[in-house]
Structure formats: C-alpha cells, structure tokens
Symmetry: C2
C-alpha cells in the first residue's frame, strides 16, 4: 500500500473473503524450518496450500528455493517468479509432457513423478524426442493411501532401469498419507519413521542394482513435524503447515492459535427458534470439506472468532449452503448476541480446500496492534494461482 492509500481494515471489504495472518504463517514456517535444520535435511515446501508467491517466500526466507507443486499451472507461475527447482508431485499424465519439456527448456529443473513402467517409457521417449533430461522420481507407497509402487515390487526395478538407462532417474518420493489419520504423537512418529524407512529402502534397492539415486524425498505436514531421525532422506515436503487448520490442530500438530487462514463473514440473520446465527459465508467461501467429522472433536465447517481472531468459545459453523453459513452453540454454551452486520472470522477444517475457494488473501499481521477500533489493518492483498 502506498503512504497515501486510505487505511483499510478487516471491517472494509465486502464479505466473505480469505484472511491470512502473516505473523502466524511466519511463525509456522520458522518452526518447521528450524526442525528440519536440526535434523539436517532440506525443505522442499509444497506450495499447493497457499498457491502464492508471497507465501512461498515466507517458507523460504524470502529467496526462491526448491518447491513442490500440485499442478503445472503452479510450476509455470513459480517459474515466472524465479523458482528454478520444482517437483510436480502428481503422477504424470503423458499428455502433459510437452509443458514439462517447455519448462525444462526454460532452464527450470522440473522433476516429474511416476509409478508405472508405462509412464517411465512415456517420459524417456519424450526426453529422447526433445533432447532434454526429464528428471523423474519414482513414487513408492508406504501405507496404501494413494499411488506408488510397493518397495518390494519388481516394478520398482523395471521403472528404475527404464529411467536410469535414459539418464532420467532422479530418485524416490514417498508420502505418508496415513499420518493424517494418526491422532497421537506416537502414531505420527511411527508414520514418519515408516515413511523414511520405506523411502530409504527403495533407494537402497535401486542403488544395489547400480542405479544412482540423488533424491530421497518424504513428507506430509504431520510426519515433517514428528520425524526424529531422517538419516538417508535428502528432503522433506510439507505444505499445509504454513497455514495449519482444524484437522492439524485435531491431530495435535499445532494449536488453534497457530491457524493463519480464516474467512471473514458477516451476520445476516438469526433463527432463535433453531438456535442459529446466519452468515453470508457458506460452502462457496469455506469449501465442502468436513475433515474434522472423523476426528475426536467435530468442528462442523469451522470454529468462529471475532474480527481480531479471538475465539468465541462454543460457537461452531455447523451448516452451509452455497452462500449461507449456520452458526450454533455447542451444548452448554450460550448463543452469543451477534447483531446483523457483525463481522466474524471462521477457522477452517482444511486450509488447502478453503483457500482454493478464494482468488487471494487479505493480509493482516496479528503481531501488530489494531489501529482503528478492533479491526486489524489490511497490509496487503496476495493473489493465488488458479487452474491447472
């Protein structure tokens, strides 16, 4: 904002809109960076949660560093933003290889992911045709949650050889999807150890056959925070941690006070006969994600704070239609008196899904004391990268 721009606060933009508390994001970023520094392993943050160059800068201390992306649109936008070391961590569809080659030709080191001999052949063929090296990671499954070959499957070697012969073998990638369902610190430590063990074992299996494995990549937000020994691992991927959310708080990976993303909404009505406060933030603003539904405490579509971020205890967003939210009080809590026009903020279940419903973030800094009344000042507006 220029010095002459009028002061805007969270009381100003029309609701609903996404709010990013930059000091919380910085704290979250520093926490994981510090941990991984102690463990002696590199961080390759996943930018799919925020999809923002400015948020990625927080994760890398202001300088472009290695990142993980979930779409080629992210890869292209981050390449435009000066990032040169990018892993596209979704199994490659062969028809997307021309965009991969185009990025490689721009000097971007773009790693692709695959878990089948067909994909490996498509990659080596495209590399041969284009005359470029396409660095490829083999996805190895550690817990049956998504893609990946099993570490003892001969397909690992078949794929490895196909890539190795064409000089496209970069390494191994493992993602502990099960860790999102491990509700105890011990369970998360176990998931982290298992993720590492499988990744290291897969790399070892390839190396024993004379193949060079430069990258051994693991990661998820829970395992990145739980790992105590990452010997043999070269890098950790995690993304959600820069925002955190109620699912992560439910797992104990963070506290509610660490949540950096929220959605500002306005009270538009009351149904006292049902115990409802109605807002103008429905699933279009929050997403349909109900990630805490299967946790010990179900937070509906989210918890409620006032505009400064102070939790309104016992108030939960329990219902959503497209542009309407329903807030109710948990058993034993009174329904607070929140007149029509009152602005609130909703803390989401799943930051990746909620952020995706918005085109950008109104940035505040909760470390800065409010300057007008109780509404935090908007210091900036950061755009998101959209599409595929």
């Amino acid at each position: 904002m220029t010095a002459s721009a009028p002061l805007t606060t969270l009381a100003d933009p029309d609701t609903p809109f996404a709010v990013l508390d930059v000091s919380r994001s910085q704290r979250n970023a520093q926490r994981l960076a510090g941990r991984l520094h102690e463990l002696g392993v590199a961080l390759r943050p996943h930018v799919k949660t925020a999809k923002s160059l400015q948020v990625a800068a927080l994760m890398h201390d202001g300088r472009p560093g290695p990142i993980t992306v979930s779409t080629l649109a992210e890869a292209e936008a981050f390449a435009d933003g000066g990032y040169t070391d990018i892993t596209y961590a979704v199994g490659i569809a062969p028809h997307k290889l021309p965009r991969v080659v185009a990025l490689l030709r721009r000097g971007i080191t773009l790693q692709v992911l695959l878990d089948s001999p067909e994909q490996a052949r498509a990659v080596t063929a495209a590399a041969g045709e284009a005359g470029v090296r396409i660095p490829a990671l083999i996805e190895v499954d550690c817990d049956g949650h998504r893609g990946g070959v099993l570490v003892d499957d001969d397909a690992l070697l078949t794929i490895g050889h196909e890539l190795h012969e064409a000089d496209c073998l970069e390494g191994i990638l493992v993602h502990a999807g099960e860790s999102y369902f491990a509700p105890t610190a011990a369970g998360q430590r176990e998931a982290a150890a298992h993720e590492r063990d499988i990744a290291v074992a897969a790399a070892q299996r390839l190396r024993e056959k004379g193949m060079e494995v430069a990258t051994v990549s693991v990661g998820s937000t829970p395992t990145a925070h739980a790992a105590t020994d990452l010997t043999g691992v070269t890098e950790v991927r995690a993304g959600n941690y820069v925002f955190f959310d109620l699912v992560m708080a439910g797992l104990g990976v963070c506290g509610i006070d660490d949540l950096a993303l929220s959605v500002a909404v306005t009270v538009i009505g009351h149904r006292p006969e049902h115990g409802w406060i109605l807002t103008d933030g429905g699933w279009m603003a929050m997403s349909r994600d109900r990630g805490t539904a299967n946790q010990a405490v179900d937070h509906g579509y989210g918890l409620v704070t006032d505009l400064t971020g102070t939790l309104i205890r016992g108030l939960v967003m329990t219902g959503a239609s497209q542009e309407h939210g329903i807030l109710t009080a948990r058993d034993g809590h009174p329904l607070p008196d929140l007149p029509v026009g009152t602005r609130l903020r909703i803390l989401p279940n799943h930051a990746c899904a909620t952020a995706a419903q918005h085109h950008g973030y109104q940035v505040i800094d909760s470390a800065e004391p409010p300057t007008t009344g109780t509404a935090p000042r908007i210091t900036d507006v950061w755009q998101r990268i959209a599409g595929w």
Copy 2:
C-alpha cells in the same frame, strides 16, 4: 471458434477440466420452461449454478430475462451483460448496500432479500439517503432449512410496514430447502404445495394490512419440477436444473442421461491390490461435495463415463485427495481395463459445487456426432463469473 482454428476435442486440453454438454442443458432448460409455461407462471432462473452469461441465455431462450443471483459479483457481471431484472437471493448484509445502490442507479432493478427489522431499516435508510427505491423481498421460511421469518410471526408485518412506508416492499420469497431431502415424487409435490401455500399466505397477510405485494416468488429445482398448481405465485426460481447432477438424479428429478456437467480426467495409475484406478482429478476438480452420501445410493465423488459420455457401469469415484481421484468398481462389477493416459469424464454429485472449482466450461454438443475418433468436438469455451 474461427473457421481456421484447429479442431479441438475433449482429447486435447490438459486434464482436469469442466465439460458442458450444451444440448443436454438446452433440453433441461426447455423442460422446465415448458412446465412453467403450462402452469402460467414466470421463470426467474438462478444463475448461481453455472455463473455464465451463455448458460443463462439457454435458460432464457437467448434474450436477457429476469434472473436470480447468489452474489453481487454475479449481479454486476449480468448487469454488464444486459440483464436488468435481478434478485439477489441472499439476506442482505447492510455494508453491501452501496453496491446495490450503484446497480439501481445504472437502471438495474435489483431486488434484495431480508428477514429482519434491522435489515429492513438499513434498506429504507440507504434508499432514503440515496434517493432511490430499493425493492426488497421478505424471506419467509417454509421448512426450517435456512433463513426467513415464519408466516405467523409478527415480524413479517413489522418488516412489511417498514418497507411499505418507504415504498421498498416488493414481495415475498420462499425456498423449499427440505425438497432436496424428499426422495419421492409425492414428497416433492407436497414440498412444492407447501412452499406455494406459505408464500401465498405470507403475501395475503401483508395485503390484508393494506400493503401491496407485487412478487410472490418460490422455487428450488425439485419443487419447480414437482409443482402442479402455482396459483397465487408470480415467479419460480430454480438453477441447478440447467446442469442437473447425481443428487437430483437420486431424487428422481432427472435421469443420469440429463446431466450436462462433467469433469474430464486422465488415468495416471493403477493399484490392482486395492482395486483402484487413479486419475488426475481430485477434490480440486470435483469439490468436496458428497451430496449422495445420504441418499439411497451413494455415488462417492461421482460416476464415470468414457469421453463420449457413455456410462461405465459399476465404476465409481470413491476417493479424492487434492489432485488425485480413486475409481473403484462396485460389488459384482469387474474393474475395467483403462490404461494410463485414458481420458474419462466424472458426473458430479452437486453441479453447483463442482462447477465452482473451474474457471469455465469446455462446451460440447452430444447431439452432434463425433468427428474425430470418439472424442466429442469442443465447440466453445465459456467463462464463469468468480468471487463475491
């Protein structure tokens, strides 16, 4: 497309992307328009499902007509597109009234919605200050699903008087939210009759006190298709019907062959040990909506067709992460052989939520025979209106 543009088909764009079958949308639009013509009542389609000027044109036979919107961003974009009679059907937050006044000053008849005396006072104050009439509809609740005053609540008269005195009273609006949970035709007919009865009774109550009620507005996709008598109603709102979806098919409002929206995805892997086919379409492409979870048949995140739209019987999208979909076979059905690179289409649970994950639609016409292999030709790309 210009005559010299290369032919593109659903085999061309990088997946995932939204596909709109224009002949199905036309057929759906004509079906409801025909019904309402027979019932002698006007149609005010809700454009929140498609958020597209081109789709709205299908619903109005190519000419701008009355519409319903869910955001002021839609109202502004449709005003730019020549629409002059718009109902913003979310309870008005007072801070949004300056944008309402700006539209009214452009000559757009923008009706706002409210259900409290506070909102009514905010509207009449804004009208007085701006020197414009702000036409307001009073939301009346018929089944306890969202906002609205009860028809026998004195607040109805209080709000009516406040608006009437300031010449802002336009009418009554009722929405039968319960109809989305009425699994039988009889239940939907009953919901439609009840929606009408409540709307007409509310209008009557105001008229008995000498207030003029020009608009008696009802609607939802199920009740619009179930109503048999709309005496006393002046207009019907419905939106989802232009696309339909698995939830509506589950209610029997349409058949699977009527679904006009789908998402094109590509097979990126297999996990035969789990019975999974993996695709590059996750919840980012489909939304997190699991609307059929509470219906008689749960379709997971969606049903699967080939690229021409032919259903692959027994195949269901049962899992989703951000950019990964998991397809599995229902009991008794074999898992089809779909190699890496195969393109499919997913029919969504909830068209409003799935469409919102995309910036536009690749338009096809299933009434047109395919011209290259089996991939339908893309005849156009239609953009969506985003944000609030």
